[in-house]
């Protein structure tokens, strides 16, 4: 198969899946899941704008930079909620502000650095959530627990993206086709992430009795 075709198919499917997952997630009432719904909306819109601008107007717009920035802020919010870091609220805000400043001042909107930072950081946080799940043993059946699926989605996506994030630019300069292929694979990972999140939303909708104890902090607020 032509690498470019594979890239476009994967990109289209990723866009479509983020839109579908977003629509499934619209029914969610829990605050934590709403953060993920907003994350999907931003992902969908940023991808859509990028594709429309590139395909119809032949204009390369860096929506990825905006997306990575929002992704960082939203997922910090998400993990602080599910990891119940209620004592670290000020620290969380500090991290969010610092990250924005870092991206603007130090990284100068360097997409490679932003992608890599997000990949490493959220791989660690998603692993941390699984460790917490095992230690607390509050969840009887992880397969019926939406946060398990969402966290698995982020773990697969971010851990799989670490090496891609590092090599996108270098490959683009050295061998364009390999870069296209790696972008295609990255989009496949994005597709897998969106499918897993959609499953999480579906489970949350089907099993309304799922263990919401991990969302207590948000509900108390």
């Amino acid at each position: 198969m032509d690498y470019t075709l594979y890239y476009y198919i994967a990109a289209f499917l990723m866009l479509l899946s983020s839109g579908i997952a977003f629509f499934i997630g619209l029914r969610q009432s829990a605050g934590t899941l709403r953060v993920v719904v907003i994350y999907l909306l931003v992902s969908f819109l940023s991808d859509l704008i990028f594709r429309i601008a590139y395909i119809f107007f032949d204009f390369y717009i860096k929506t990825g930079v905006f997306f990575r920035l929002v992704e960082f802020v939203l997922l910090i919010e998400f993990y602080s909620l599910i990891l119940q870091l209620k004592k670290l609220t000020i620290f969380k805000r500090f991290i969010q502000v610092i990250s924005v400043v870092l991206y603007i001042v130090i990284f100068e909107f360097d997409l490679t650095l932003m992608r890599t930072t997000n990949s490493v950081f959220f791989s660690l946080l998603s692993t941390g959530f699984f460790i917490k799940m095992i230690m607390e043993m509050k969840v009887n059946d992880p397969l019926k627990f939406p946060l398990f699926w969402i966290n698995a989605a982020f773990l697969v996506y971010f851990s799989g993206s670490v090496f891609f994030s590092l090599s996108f630019d270098i490959l683009g300069r050295l061998h364009e086709m390999s870069a296209v292929l790696s972008f295609g694979f990255h989009n496949t990972l994005g597709l897998a992430k969106n499918i897993l999140i959609a499953i999480a939303f579906w489970i949350s909708y089907k099993h309304s009795d799922w263990d919401k104890s991990l969302l207590e902090i948000k509900e108390r607020k």
């Binding site: 692993t127 095992i134 773990l155 697969v156 851990s159 799989g160 090496f163 891609f164 390999s178 694979f185």
Partner: protein, 272 residues
């Protein structure tokens, strides 16, 4: 494609594969571990429920046994004596007893009624000693030990420190535990020396020792029917915040220590 690109692609493939494998392994481990723990939890719950069922059955059996004993005491003792007294009274009323034996018959009837009163008093005392309500735990335990003390089995009572006020329910539960322990020592251990120590210090400590044949604690605990006495003592102690320590081995007698901490004492020990 030049060498640098090939190297980067190789690194990319290997690195990504390793990362994805790790992520997959973590996810599968979480699912496997949680499911395994869930199975263990269900198995433990089933065992617990089974144990509770057996304990309940044994408690019901022992209650039934106690009821039968009381019924037998009433039927064989009180019932028989009252029937004999009634027969004597009927004979007195119908005039079938000669005049010269009248006084003796009345004396016999009075004796029977006195014996019946004594028996009723004994049964009642066994059920709930009046001294417990009137004079408190120390006196009731002392009275119990004195009553059971005999040439074959010595039952001694000692107390330490100044007695303090306990609720009626606490006193009754402690009395019942001591009664049960002495009863076990007499009936099952065939002891020749039993000693009851009551230390009113803080925490309140009760120690019952005997020189009987002792028992294998694990074996008794393993058989719910045999161990119902021990569980009943533990349950009673837990109702008033007490802990029970059993020390016994076959042939070496046994020592049972009950430590009762009042709520504020428990809090203090937790904080310390």
């Amino acid at each position: 494609m030049d060498n640098a690109a090939t190297n980067i692609i190789a690194l990319l493939i290997v690195g990504t594969s390793v990362m994805l494998l790790l992520a997959g392994a973590i996810i599968f481990f979480v699912i496997y571990y949680q499911k395994r723990m869930l199975q263990n939890k269900i198995a433990t719950q089933e065992l617990e429920a089974d144990y509770q069922r057996q304990l309940l059955q044994s408690t019901i059996d022992s209650q039934e046994k106690e009821r039968k004993r009381i019924a037998s005491d009433l039927h064989d003792g009180v019932g028989a004596m009252l029937s004999a007294a009634k027969l004597n009274l009927n004979m007195l009323r119908s005039g079938t007893i000669p005049m010269e034996e009248l006084s003796e018959a009345i004396g016999e009837t009075k004796e029977m009624i006195d014996d019946t009163i004594d028996t009723v008093r004994r049964i009642s005392k066994d059920l709930l000693p009046s001294s417990l309500e009137a004079f408190g735990l120390s006196k009731a335990v002392e009275e119990l030990c004195t009553k059971l003390d005999n040439p074959q089995t010595s039952v001694k009572f000692e107390e330490k420190n100044e007695p303090h006020t306990l609720s009626q329910q606490e006193e009754l539960l402690i009395f019942r535990m001591i009664q049960e322990l002495i009863n076990n020592a007499l009936k099952h251990a065939e002891a020749s020396e039993i000693a009851v120590y009551l230390d009113w210090g803080k925490p309140l400590t009760i120690v019952v020792t005997d020189d009987g044949k002792g028992f294998n604690l694990e074996e008794i605990r393993g058989d719910i029917k045999k161990g119902v006495g021990l569980y009943s003592i533990e349950n009673r102690a837990s109702l008033i915040g007490g802990d029970v320590e059993f020390k016994s081995e076959p042939g070496t007698g046994s020592t049972v220590k009950i430590i009762i901490k009042k709520e504020h004492e428990q809090d203090q020990s937790l904080h310390s």
